[in-house]
């Protein structure tokens, strides 16, 4: 399925500014087409010398998928959490269509299986629309069932979270976020805690959402998935934007920066090289 999508996605017109990785970090121009704009974002914890995010600027055009890569500790999860409003920011701004981002427009799915254990699958999904949007139970249930249908879990609507597999829980978590009609969805390593066999079922759902034109920011370690789903790909390291590309394929095959080459190299295995490393250690 991912291969099909790779062919189907038209190559995004390459913006010279955005494609030039050297200017990407300081790129603060307003995107007129709409979508999410992050400008000079700084995040620093009170008792720390180094900012976790050091002047991040990037755009996620409406309907596009941005994949954020980076080694652990590079600040990619913090970036998502700051966009989500779960972390305070010490500088910069986050805009949606030129106006400050309303947190109600953001949906998020986390790495942990964070369904509410005191509610059934359906109860998990319809709670927020009923409480926040004051929708009727019938109305919320009808939409919840359509969403469950889409992720193939309609028959599990009365199940309790602990009766579901990790992959099923994450698919329910996606439905729970979608029913609030977010304008942008954030996925924070949603498959990192899953068994390998369950990764696919979750990623397939996300790919389908991408095909439907949902704006998304995705942090992931699944490189094949990143390659297939990304309209725009960024590499973060040490709280800074190292490389940005509108061509996922080119990013993986011809990275522009040395840091990106190093990073991608950690995912490639060459037997000779590996053996030599072991020899070095011995």
């Amino acid at each position: 399925m991912t291969d099909q999508r790779q062919e189907a996605v038209p190559v995004v017109p390459v913006d010279v500014d955005a494609h030039n990785s050297n200017s990407a970090a300081s790129d603060t121009r307003i995107n007129q087409a709409g979508g999410l704009q992050i400008q000079g974002l700084v995040k620093q914890y009170p008792h720390s010398d180094h900012p976790v995010l050091n002047g991040i600027s990037l755009d996620v055009p409406a309907g596009k998928v941005m994949v954020i890569l980076g080694p652990s500790g590079s600040g990619k999860s913090t970036l998502l959490r700051t966009v989500a409003g779960l972390e305070s920011m010490q500088g910069g701004q986050i805009l949606m269509d030129g106006k400050p981002l309303d947190r109600h427009d953001v949906g998020m799915v986390f790495q942990s299986y964070d369904l509410f254990p005191n509610k059934t699958v359906l109860g998990n999904i319809i709670m927020a629309p009923m409480l926040v949007h004051k929708r009727s139970k019938e109305d919320a249930t009808a939409e919840a069932m359509r969403l469950l249908e889409r992720v193939g879990l309609a028959d599990r609507k009365d199940a309790w979270p602990h009766e579901l597999s990790g992959g099923q829980r994450q698919r329910v978590a996606i439905c729970r976020a979608l029913i609030m009609h977010p304008r942008i969805m954030l996925f924070d390593e949603v498959t990192a805690a899953l068994d390998p066999e369950m990764v696919r079922e979750v990623l397939d759902v996300i790919v389908e959402l991408a095909d439907q034109g949902l704006t998304m920011m995705i942090v992931t370690h699944e490189m094949a998935f990143a390659r297939a789903v990304a309209d725009r790909i960024v590499l973060l390291d040490g709280g800074k934007l190292v490389e940005q590309s509108d061509d996922a394929e080119a990013f993986f095959t011809h990275p522009q920066t040395e840091r990106a080459r190093q990073f991608l190299h950690t995912f490639a295995f060459e037997r000779g090289h590996h053996a030599q490393n072991l020899d070095d250690q011995a």
Binding site: A84, G85, L86, R103, H104, V106, G107, M108, F110, S112, D114, L115, F116, P117, N118, M127, A128, L131, V132, W160, P161, H162, E163, A173, R176, A177, M180
Partner: protein, 225 residues
């Protein structure tokens, strides 16, 4: 005459039931008031303000270290001497049991609240729930079921401890029992065993439903991880 014949007198039963009512009233009011107190204390124990946490900790330790009887004497005799605050014996009991129940329940609430993972709060926040909705619809239901077994245990302890009220002169079920035994000492020398036996079953009848309700709820809620 055989002591068991004492139990054939209707008046004995009526008086014991009156005593039981006093016991149950003190216990019910104490447990009932302990719940809101405990929720507030538990909430304060998780406060971000360190001084508030210390004060609550001090309160809890004080209540735990002091024997309940000493607390009762302080409330009944000490308050009137020190501040001219004349609590009647029943009120003194309720005050002490609420202070005790509130502290212990508060600690249970604190434990349950801190055991809820942060991702539960964050998920609720991301869905647009305000802090109050998050607390009432997501956090509290999970906290309640986690603290249920220990809370029922606490409630039964409060019911049993109401017997200390005798020492302040409250005529509750044990005192009534003593009065009946004393009044019939010559006629029914072995009446004590039978009267106390009845009292045992009365306590049992008060506490048993609590256990049943607790077990029912636990079964109904066991879908919680």
């Amino acid at each position: 005459m055989h002591g068991a014949e004492l139990l054939l007198q209707t008046s004995v039963w009526l008086r014991l039931l009156q005593g039981l009512w006093v016991t149950a009233w003190i216990a019910l009011v104490s447990v009932g008031l302990s719940v809101p107190v405990g929720l507030i204390v538990g909430w304060l124990m998780t406060s971000r303000v360190r001084v508030v946490r210390w004060i609550m900790r001090l309160y809890l330790e004080f209540i735990r270290i002091m024997p309940q009887l000493a607390l009762l004497f302080i409330a009944f005799y000490g308050f009137s001497r020190a501040w001219g605050l004349n609590l009647d014996a029943t009120a003194a009991c309720v005050v002490v049991f609420v202070l005790w129940g509130g502290a212990e329940l508060g600690d249970l609430v604190r434990g349950a609240l801190t055991s809820i993972p942060r991702s539960q709060y964050e998920s609720a926040q991301m869905l647009g729930l305000n802090p109050w909705q998050t607390f009432t619809h997501v956090i509290l239901p999970q906290a309640l079921r986690r603290m249920l077994p220990a809370s029922v245990n606490l409630a039964t302890r409060i019911v049993k401890t109401t017997s200390l009220a005798v020492l302040l002169g409250v005529v509750e079920v044990i005192k009534v029992g003593q009065q009946i035994i004393d009044a019939n000492r010559f006629q029914y020398p072995d009446g004590a065993l039978w009267i106390y036996g009845v009292i045992f079953f009365m306590y049992f009848i008060v506490c048993w439903p609590l256990s049943i309700v607790a077990r029912r709820l636990e079964q109904r809620w066991n879908h919680d991880d």
